[in-house]
Amino acid sequence: MIREDCRTVTLLLLDHVYRDLEEVWTHRVERHLADCAECRERHARLRETLELVDRATVEPEERISEQFAATVLAILQRRRADESRPWLRAAMAACLVLGLLAPTLRVPSLPKATAPNPPPAVVELQLVAKELNDPLIVELAWQTAQLSARVQSVGFRTSRPVS
């Protein structure tokens, strides 16, 4: 049969081990531990467990990468740059649509893209790509310039003949 005191002390053992108890309660628990072998054993086992844990895990061997904070800031800066150019998303979406539509355009074998004057939006996109140094945007800008050059050089005809 477990005494009422034991029940109370069992609930307080954790706080005692972690030194979270007020002084009055600390004394009370310690007085009980001096008298009660079972609670003493529970207390000892708890301490033993925590000491084992401490022995094994004093210091993690892994370290955070030195560039961590810089990476977080770079992401935030890029996001901020994106937010300050709301048209960029629209331009990228337009590029994507053009890219998807490209196979449906009847474009004969084409010369290399050497368009003398790409449209201003494409020029702007290329500048942004250079500034952001983002491989995806650089690729998009390049594709757009290519597409623009092709369209300029061969005209823009749909694959279906107009009846």
Binding site: R45, E62, I64, A69, V72
Partner: protein
């Protein structure tokens, strides 16, 4: 923490959109938070991903923080939620793996430590203890790590997890019972006391 006034100033400036101040804050907190994440997740990549997501979210929601003195607990809260998400995702993946047989499951469980070299360096005991912590249910592990390694008080953990103090206490108690069972045998004595 050194110079708390400076830290409060950094938080206020970051709230006004100062990215450099926020960078300084991230620097101050990254190591402590990384260890918390690492102790919960046991994988460096997951810990860094968790931390990155945490600091991006902290930035996004920084203006919502009305009491700047509560910054640390607030960061812990966001980190804890992220870490719990990752642990739950892993559990789901583990459940998925179970259908492919116990061998695959075993591999998934033992694959957490970083490298074979590191594994070799660890003594059996260290590995056994780390495994015992790793196998705690997500919430128990989180509470245990916050209390034992980060030194948060139970009232602070209750605040971080937005849970009643009694629940947090019971969670920690259960975590320790499980650890005790794995490390030094079953907690028969304790069970009798709780009956």
């Amino acid at each position: 923490m050194e110079n708390p006034e400076l830290e409060l100033e950094l938080i206020r400036r970051a709230q006004q959109g100062d990215l450099r101040a926020y960078g300084a804050l991230v620097k101050r907190y990254e190591e402590r938070m990384f260890y918390t994440a690492y102790r919960i997740l046991h994988q460096r990549e997951d810990a860094e991903d968790c931390l990155q997501e945490t600091f991006l979210r902290v930035w996004d929601r920084l203006r919502e923080l009305s009491d700047v003195r509560a910054f640390q607990l607030w960061v812990y809260r966001i980190l804890s939620n992220q870490a719990l998400d990752i642990l739950r995702r892993r559990e789901r993946q583990r459940e998925g793996l179970e259908s492919y047989g116990s061998e695959v499951l075993h591999l998934a469980r033992v694959s957490s430590p970083a490298s074979p070299r590191e594994l070799l360096r660890r003594s059996r005991e260290v590995e056994r203890i780390e495994r015992a912590i790793e196998e705690l249910p997500p919430r128990q592990k989180l509470v245990f790590v916050l209390r034992h390694f980060q030194g948060l008080k139970l009232t602070e953990i209750a605040e971080v997890l937005n849970s009643p103090l009694g629940t947090v206490k019971a969670t920690l108690h259960n975590a320790l019972q499980k650890l005790q069972g794995s490390l030094i045998g079953s907690g028969e004595v304790d069970e009798r006391a709780r009956r």
